[in-house]
């Protein structure tokens, strides 16, 4: 556990915030990886989504809440289907939430987001809630989560 995790887990909203930011960073880094691997810019993505470049900047910096609908649109624009899993097993084993090595290493240089580790997870479940509610929902039922694309 890092110092920030150790300290924030003691505060009222710290646990929730750690879970939220883990998910946000996991998702946005994967989107950035696809953009980079496909040689696409934020402007290209903005055009495909029919939105402004500044909106894409806000979404990819995590400063604007991304809904599941927006995530699906991004997946559609990039030709990569997002998948969401709740990882109960990982929660028990790691004693922590969110970002896992499996979730972040899957995107490396292949351009295909097929998370092999996800197949090994037990108790996974597809969810349909809005993205900004993921972390809260997951925490309330004691589940960490992964969002992957393929």
């Amino acid at each position: 556990m890092t110092l920030v995790q150790e300290l924030l887990k003691q505060s009222k909203n710290g646990k929730k915030e750690l879970a939220r930011q883990d998910l946000i960073v996991s998702v946005t880094e994967q989107v950035w990886a696809i953009l980079e691997d496909s040689n696409l810019s934020k402007a290209d993505l903005a055009r495909a989504l029919e939105t402004s470049k500044s909106n894409v900047t806000q979404l990819l910096s995590g400063n604007r809440n991304m809904t599941l609908a927006t995530l699906a649109d991004i997946g559609e624009a990039l030709g990569a289907k997002p998948k969401v899993h709740f990882d109960r097993q990982g929660f028990i084993q790691q004693g922590r939430t969110g970002l896992t090595p499996q979730a972040t290493t899957s995107s490396q240089s292949r351009g295909v987001f097929n998370l092999e580790a996800a197949n090994q997870l037990q108790g996974t479940q597809t969810i349909t809630a809005r993205t900004h509610g993921f972390a809260k929902s997951a925490m309330s039922v004691g589940l960490p989560f992964l969002i992957t694309t393929e």
Partner: protein, 137 residues
């Protein structure tokens, strides 16, 4: 003389960087100044600061696990071999060392985009202390 020696040893031990996170690709170390700055920021009890710290922490663990950060808006070269992880108003400043090591110098909450002279001096001081401690090893 013994007391002086003891104080000196304690000061040197206290200034030795500690492991912040051991990832699959990189080890993140943090200086004593870095640890103190995080504790000071958490003590402010601001939601905005907590959000920034949590996001910067997730980013730095991603750096440790994957060896790189993709988001150019949150990972910036500050010149002279220094880097900044930027999450909201939070900045984690640091530099690379041989052996897949990234050392966090210190952490601040700021509104300005560019690295200030004060932060650069603070980072140079922490870097010199780190490298001197490595020479002594």
């Amino acid at each position: 003389l013994l007391i002086k020696l003891n104080i000196k040893v304690n000061i040197e031990l206290n200034s030795m960087p500690t492991v912040y996170h051991e990832g699959a690709s990189r080890t993140i170390l943090i200086t004593a100044d870095g640890e103190q700055s995080i504790r000071a920021l958490v003590a402010v009890h601001s939601k905005e600061i907590e959000t920034g710290l949590a996001r910067a922490d997730a980013l730095i663990r991603t750096l440790a696990e994957t060896g790189q950060l993709r988001s150019p808006d949150q990972w910036r070269k500050e010149g002279d071999g220094f880097w900044a992880i930027r999450a909201k108003q939070i900045r984690f400043y640091g530099w690379y060392e041989p052996g897949s090591i990234f050392v966090v110098s210190h952490v601040i909450c700021k509104r300005h985009q560019k690295l200030s002279e004060a932060d650069k001096s603070r980072m140079l001081k922490n870097q010199a202390e780190y490298r001197n401690s490595k020479k002594r090893d």
